[in-house]
């Protein structure tokens, strides 16, 4: 596939694939169109995603459906308090001959073709595990058995429930910064979807439900190439660059906009964050979204659509307000988009 010569037709083919991918997941996950769209964007931006939400809203189902639809090798691990990095990499057991053996662990078991690594309840794992994950996400490689394993196609999905805070370890900022998006999964709002989820027997057994998803809609090997083609093919004009920089500035210094949030001292709210990496992720995601919408240029709507998920977890606010983080950051972002003039 020669992307330089004919990227347009390739991209339009993949556009159809992407829409089909969304439809397949939408068959089993009801009322989460926005989340599905964001995860699709993340997939085509080759970014890692952290899902966050209440218990039982379908985070795991959603990720399993995605893994199935993307195709390729898939591994998952459950985060527990006693999980150590070695447990991801090595599998220690007694062999049939009674001797202790060390085999490749979950992370290495599928070899270097691993396309999706799904980390359940990531906040239950210890910081040591987070560190390993950090390396996996940042460099797509781990060291084991005295050599380096590379996972060129790996995409990490993690989920975290936000109800329980006991025996959990908050992710370090560096690890959170590695995630392209932090997506909040909430209950479906539409009555119809809620009713189906509760009463339709189809949704009672997740395993059979997932059989509905067509497997391997996307070719994980080609995703990286397509992602690069998208980044090249979708242009960002100077006006959009100026707008993005204005947004960045506004997030870091909201007081300059005259933004006011209820019960918040705006002058000390934002302590830092919105890293350059975050902004580059933002543009990456915005480009993919523009492509998903069938455009060859990024417009402010694209930035707005992905901004909360891409940027919210990168904004560091005063610890005083940390307990009310979600509404405050949401108000901050909404305010920034209302105030910063585009283009």
């Amino acid at each position: 596939m020669d992307l330089v010569r004919d990227p347009d037709s390739v991209l339009s083919d993949w556009h159809a694939h992407a829409l089909r991918f969304e439809r397949e997941i939408g068959k089993v996950v009801l009322g989460q169109e926005r989340v599905i769209r964001l995860l699709t964007i993340a997939t085509f931006a080759r970014g890692h995603v952290l899902l966050e939400g209440d218990v039982g809203v379908g985070k795991t189902t959603l990720l399993r459906a995605m893994a199935r639809a993307i195709g390729g090798a898939f591994e998952r691990i459950e985060g527990t308090i006693d999980l150590m990095p070695g447990d991801l990499v090595y599998h220690a057991h007694l062999g049939e001959d009674g001797k202790p053996r060390i085999d490749p662990g979950p992370l290495l078991r599928q070899g270097e073709d691993l396309s999706i690594f799904f980390f359940n309840e990531i906040n239950r794992a210890r910081p040591q595990v987070h560190a390993l994950l950090l390396r996996l996400m940042a460099e797509r490689s781990v060291s084991a058995f005295n050599r380096e394993y590379r996972f060129p196609h790996v995409q990490v999905f993690a989920d975290r429930n936000r109800v329980e805070r006991e025996e959990t370890f908050e992710l370090p900022a560096a690890a959170r910064d590695r995630f392209l998006m932090e997506v909040q999964v909430v209950m479906p709002q539409a009555d119809e979807a809620r009713r189906s989820l509760v009463f339709d027997p189809r949704f009672h057994d997740v395993d059979t439900l997932l059989m509905d998803v067509e497997s391997g809609v996307l070719d994980p090997e080609a995703l990286g190439t397509v992602a690069r083609a998208i980044q090249i093919g979708v242009q960002a004009s100077p006006a959009l660059e100026a707008y993005t920089l204005a947004l960045w500035d506004a997030v870091r210094r909201p007081q300059a906009l005259g933004l006011a949030i209820d019960g918040v001292d705006i002058n000390r709210l934002v302590q830092g964050g919105a890293s350059p990496r975050g902004m580059s992720y933002l543009i990456r995601a915005a480009r993919v979204r523009a492509w998903m919408e069938g455009r060859d240029m990024v417009v402010p709507e694209d930035l707005r659509a992905v901004f909360p998920e891409v940027m919210a977890h990168r904004i560091f606010i005063d610890p005083v307000y940390e307990m009310r983080r979600e509404p405050i950051v949401a108000a901050l972002i909404a305010g920034v988009f209302e105030r910063v003039p585009a283009p």
Partner: protein, 318 residues
């Protein structure tokens, strides 16, 4: 007291001047009574007007001959007849009653109190060919001088007193009305200016499209010049309109927000198609790096027209 005195005096005169028609006299058979009512008989000075009022009762079908009424005129060197009013009370119980008012003015200048007489007035009552004289009797009164014969006070004996100041017309109400009307007119003008966005009102917050329309030069469509400059002018015009949309909605309005915008501001639905073209054009201009395509999508003259249209929509006169 004065009123009572006048009534008493009138009654006294009445007794004097009542003439009873005698039934035996054929000439006076048709005249019942002539009753003269007069003011007091004394204390009149030069220039006074005296109103004599005569109640005349005739036997129907006799009527008073209007031609016999005296015309208002100067009767002699000191007495003017100013006005003659005849009031017909109609016939009741076979008697035809009239009231005749005679207004005199006296100019007699006596040196001492002096009795003067207003002469009798001869009238006629007619019925077909028959004529019956009716006499309003003479009346005498005392005129008094205005000044003493020999001056006793200091200074000139008789000096003209200054004219009385002319009475002022009551204009306060008129002035109030004028002020009120002017105030209302001014208020209406201000309201109109506010509504139309004239002058300083064009800059008010609630009229962002008025500001935008002002910011977009009329010459946008016609100005010649190099294409780069024209593109930048076009971009500025687009920006001005976008700022107006943002200000109207209170937040940034992007193309994807237009359905919500039209829901919140239904008046702009009238220009929905053009607005959508505007947003498509600005997408091309700003994000597609295709200013020429943008100007094809929405030519500059249509942009100017749209700005004007939106301003009209905004002030509700579209």
């Amino acid at each position: 007291m004065g009123r009572l005195a006048r009534i008493l005096a009138t009654l006294g005169l009445l007794a004097t001047f009542v003439l009873l028609a005698l039934p035996t006299s054929p000439a006076l058979a048709q005249l019942r009574t002539v009753e003269l009512y007069a003011p007091r008989g004394f204390g009149h000075v030069i220039g006074d007007t005296l109103t004599l009022s005569a109640d005349i009762a005739l036997d129907a079908p006799f009527v008073l001959d209007p031609a016999s009424l005296p015309p208002p005129r100067a009767l002699n060197y000191w007495l003017d007849l100013h006005e003659v009013r005849l009031e017909d009370h109609g016939v009741s119980e076979g008697v035809h009653r009239y009231t005749l008012d005679l207004v005199y003015q006296t100019f007699y200048a006596p040196l001492e109190p002096r009795r003067l007489t207003i002469p009798a007035v001869a009238l006629f009552a007619i019925e077909g060919e028959r004529r019956v004289p009716v006499q309003v009797p003479a009346w005498s009164f005392l005129m008094s001088p205005l000044r003493e014969i020999v001056a006793t006070g200091p200074g000139p004996a008789m000096q003209l007193r200054p004219d009385i100041a002319p009475p002022l017309l009551p204009t306060a109400g008129l002035l109030r009305g004028l002020a009120l009307a002017l105030g209302v007119a001014l208020l209406a003008l201000l309201l109109l200016a506010w509504q139309m966005g004239w002058g300083p009102f064009g800059r008010r917050r609630a009229r962002p499209f008025a500001r935008a329309a002002r910011a977009i030069p009329l010459t946008l469509a016609t100005a010649p010049g190099d294409p780069i400059l024209a593109a930048s002018r076009y971009a500025h015009a687009l920006q001005a309109l976008h700022r107006a949309f943002d200000a109207t909605d209170g937040k940034g309005v992007f193309a994807e927000d237009l359905p919500g915008f039209f829901e919140r501001h239904a008046a702009f639905r009238a220009a929905e198609a053009e607005v959508r073209r505007l947003f498509a054009a600005s997408r091309r201009a700003f994000f597609g790096a295709d200013p020429a395509g943008a100007q094809r999508e929405l030519p500059p003259d249509e942009l100017v027209a749209l700005a004007r249209r939106l301003r009209a929509v905004e002030r509700g006169t579209a």
